[in-house]
Symmetry: C2
Subunit: 219 residues, 2 copies
């Protein structure tokens, strides 16, 4: 490759790059069992990971997409488990309907209480979020303890999330926490196995808010 000073990549527009990528994903993925309404989320997660195995491991509660769109359009807060997730979410599409993105993992009171109770900050942050917004959209890409605590609060009746996007990544308790999530009859988007992470859950939220925009525009 030779870069002159006048170098300009052939495809410089993010929209063009995205369109071409999505076309490649659909071609390479081939046959699958996802519904037409679930597929945009699958596609955006594969786009963010370049990982078809991860894409195929996704599991949707039957009401997940509809519930997620409704929650966004109703202005429910989006609760992120860590700052990276908060940073990646397209906030203008959440704020448009009155929602906001929250993250409590670094709140001074959360840090203090976690030390006092000898619990992870993720657990204490989840408790704080549920006390303030039991019906929010919960987005967990990292801490299995956050997801397990949320599941406990749901079973207890304290939390009634509009949607749970639960895909913690890792070797200890991550897959197990997702197995527990799939036993619940509440709207969730998750996957099987160890993979997941901030970029994956962000892709799911951003795919849903695009669908919400489309619904709001009556398309």
């Amino acid at each position: 490759m030779d870069f002159g000073t006048e170098f300009k990549p052939l495809t410089v527009q993010p929209q063009e790059i995205e369109g071409l990528s999505f076309q490649m994903i659909t071609e390479e993925l081939g046959g699958h069992d996802f519904s037409a309404e679930q597929y945009p989320v699958v596609q955006r997660i594969i786009h963010a990971s370049a990982d078809f195995e991860l894409g195929r491991s996704l599991v949707f509660h039957p009401r997940a997409i509809e519930a997620g769109i409704t929650a966004i359009l109703q202005g429910m807060p989006v609760i992120a488990d860590v700052r990276m997730v908060e940073a990646g979410i397209a906030k203008e599409r959440i704020q448009r309907y009155g929602g906001e993105v929250r993250v409590h993992i670094s709140d001074p009171d959360v840090i203090e209480e976690a030390k006092a109770l000898d619990l992870t900050r993720a657990i204490v942050a989840t408790r704080k979020a549920c006390a303030a917004a039991p019906g929010g959209i919960y987005v967990i890409g990292n801490a299995p303890t956050a997801l397990l605590e949320l599941i406990r609060l749901i079973k207890e009746g304290t939390a009634r999330p509009g949607l749970v996007i639960g895909m913690p990544v890792g070797f200890v308790s991550a897959a197990e926490s997702k197995d527990e999530l799939r036993k619940l009859d509440i709207p969730y988007i998750t996957n099987t196995g160890r993979k997941g992470g901030s970029t994956i859950v962000v892709a799911a939220v951003n795919a849903l808010s695009l669908l919400a925009d489309r619904q709001a525009e009556g398309k």
Copy 2:
């Protein structure tokens, strides 16, 4: 699983979870060709992705680890391609030696110039970063156009990065941009193929700053 109100996960300390995860990674990875100084970066990337294929695809310039540690200890700025990367980097370990984490993708002047020149914001942000800090640590997990522009500036002699961590993810130009990076004789950490992303490059930076701390402490 039955969560009583007294529920406490068995391993609640992040340090314990991390130690156990690292042990599992070493056991499952088995044989590999990474050096002892490269391995902590490989391990942390597998920890962040649960993806051994991605771990095995990593490629290190022979001077990468030493150059990265030196750059951190000298307080060179860390330039992130997007806000998610900035959010994930353990800033206290960069600031300890006088460095800071910068991200220019959403700067108003970058947005304006990108529109005026019909280029991606990633290209314009890379130009701005190199003008201010030609010797910084460049961390690119997303835009292939940012990496290609950085390579052009390096060839031109305008940029002389202390280290390039270049692992853009995606279907269009991502693998190709990394192929170009590997042709340079400068300190880099990259991989082959389409995978990469914010969480991956963040893991690399955070592994390096831990190594820098260890070196500073004379361990």
